[in-house]
Amino acid sequence: MVEQQRRQLQFSGSGGEYFRIWIVNVCLSIVTLGIYSAWAKVRRNQYFYRHTTLAGAGFDYHGEPKAILKGRIIAFLMFAAYSLVGRFDPLAGFVILALIMLLMPWLLVRSLRFRLHNTSYRGLRFAFHGHSSQAYINFLLWPLLSALTLGLLVPLAQQRIARYTRDNSAYGSAFFKFSAGVWAYYNIYLMTVLLGILIFVALMAVTVLLGSSGLIPVEADQLRAMSLLIAAVGTYLALFLIAYPYVAARLQNLLWNSTSLGAHGFSSYVKGREMVGIMLGNVLLIVLTLGLYKPFADIRLARYRIQHIELLANGSIDEFVAGLQSQASAAGDEMADMFDFDIAL
């Protein structure tokens, strides 16, 4: 058997360098009333992709700005139709939203195809081969069911989506394989829910204690309602600020640790604690600098996330060969961006 080699992904982007690229592109996008934003997006992706290297070679992004612009216009029109019509006539707005939802899985497949087809490493393109029919099950049916069950099926839906996207993704002619089961996903969320309950009970106890000892001026009959309110708001805030980075870290690890490509595996070892620190620090600095820290924050997070992924190479990685190429449109990609659909690839 060939000896396994660990190859760490490297990220060499820097905040100062990216700040200049970012601000020039933002300025050009505004001056051209948003038209240049398609070119800016390509530039941004290229910056992050080309600074990401594995075994000495960089990734690259090949998206065509004109295709992206077309996608942006379609996405913008649909979004404008929804938000404007919805204001004047909620029923018509709902119909439009339902139509967009029906279209979404198909668009997401297009989006994945565009994104992966336009990503390359060592001169070979990635590809997405998923069928739309399965997309309707994974991108529409499971999320709908998880909404109907008040979120109980969210981890299941996430596992199905991850499995569908990974199993249908390919590098050259080699397919990715995804092996994580449903319980691994439930495990992550179970920990989060337990954390939430813990915070809630602690906050509740503290306010009741402070209130009954007279440290908070409140009447006895209102104390219970008030401590409930404080505990609820506090838990919401804490989960929002802490659980989000924590879950993001655990999900990244699960996603990559369960992914393989041919004989090769991956390993991700992002730490929830450090992720919380980075994300909270970023939010704080963005607020303090009135938004100017944004490009630095993006670089900082990308570096942390990327440099904690390794390729576990079993044998040479020079042997991958190109697969059949297909054309892909950008409309889905932009649509997904507009409606805040992150499929976490």
């Binding site: 601000i23 050009l28 001056v31 070119w39 600074h51 000495g56 060592r122 042997e319 190109a322």
Partner: protein, 337 residues
């Protein structure tokens, strides 16, 4: 002169160490087991991007990565950089871009968006606006709004007084005046996009005479005449969208704070305009402008204790504060008119 590079043929992931050189209008590529010669015109030479390697993309999917950026420029001086990449490389251009961006964003916020909203508001068909008002009543009647407990005669009297007002040119009387009761909202009156005005019972009770109520209604008519409700709605959605786009991926919760702050400026301007309109209307009808100032004072004191006693109703208090900022300042301004 030869420049070291890594070549990928686009069919396999194997890297080929090669050297590049330019001969006339051709690029020569040579490696241990590979050689190619391509016309420069057929190559896709990517502009530089930060300190990433320079890239040459061949028409057949081949690809060359050149880590030696200086050597690349010496070899192909014509491809030293595009206009955009030159700007991206310079702190001076970055600073200029920053200043232009800040200027344009501030300009759009202060002048552009209000102007666009005014133009757009004038083009929204009247029947759509009426529909919005109906929608409002349909969703808030029986929930936030209860039927008015005022005697019918009292309501008729107020409506009657309004009918006899003489209006400045361009202004119109409210499409409909609806009386409602709402313990949650307290003493208040508001104008809807379609020209309906809602008067709450507590406001009528708070007033010492009908003229004070007319003064508040005159203020609301100012909002209607200038389509403030619709414009505020349009402006708020654009500001909200921009904020969500900018920091939404960090935190949706965080995006709400600046959005509310930014919208305050717009509503303050609208309140001022409506006050001026009311002052003119009151004067034209021989009523003292101080009526509105007195009424504002009363509303201010009526809403203050709310804040302290009913902490559970923070939402409505907050709403009142954000849509009627600086009441003291407005009262002072009206007294000076």
């Amino acid at each position: 002169m030869r420049v070291a590079a890594v070549y990928y043929d686009g069919r396999q992931a194997r890297p080929h160490p090669v050297t590049l050189c330019v001969e006339g209008d051709k690029l020569l590529l040579q490696g241990k087991d590979i050689a190619r010669r391509d016309a420069l015109a057929t190559l896709n030479i990517q502009p530089p991007l930060g300190n990433t390697p320079r890239l040459i993309l061949f028409a057949d999917g081949g690809r060359c990565e050149v880590a030696d950026r200086q050597g690349f420029v010496d070899m192909l001086p014509r491809d030293a950089g595009s206009a955009v990449s030159t700007m991206e490389n310079s702190w001076l251009y970055a600073l200029a871009a920053l200043l232009i961006t800040l200027g344009l964003v501030a300009g759009a916020y202060i002048c552009g968006l209000p102007y666009a909203a005014r133009v757009a508001a004038d083009r929204v068909p009247v029947y759509l606006l009426a529909q919005m008002d109906n929608q409002f009543f349909a969703s808030f009647d029986e929930t936030l709004l209860k039927p008015s407990a005022l005697p019918v005669e009292r309501r008729q009297a107020i409506r009657g007084r309004l009918q006899h007002l003489s209006l400045p040119p361009g202004a119109a009387k409210p499409e409909r005046i609806e009386f409602r009761d709402s313990p949650e909202l307290g003493a208040n009156a508001f104008a809807l996009p379609g020209g309906s005005v809602i008067v709450l019972d507590d406001l009528v009770k708070l007033a010492d005479n009908d003229e004070e109520i007319i003064a508040v209604l005159a203020h609301e008519m100012g909002h209607i005449a200038a389509k403030h409700a619709l414009r505020q709605m349009l402006q708020a959605s654009v500001v909200g969208l921009a904020m969500t786009w900018y920091i939404g991926d960090v935190s949706n919760l965080l995006a709400a704070g600046p959005t509310i702050l930014l919208e305050t400026r717009y509503s303050r301007d609208f309140e001022r305009q409506a006050d001026s309109f009311a002052a003119e209307l009151l004067r034209a009808n021989g009523m003292p402008v101080s009526q509105l100032a007195d009424m504002l004072q009363k509303l201010e004191t009526a809403h203050r204790p709310d804040e302290l006693i009913k902490s559970a109703q923070t939402a409505s208090t907050l709403d009142y504060l954000s849509s009627h900022p600086n009441t003291e300042e407005r009262i002072k301004r009206l007294r000076g008119m």
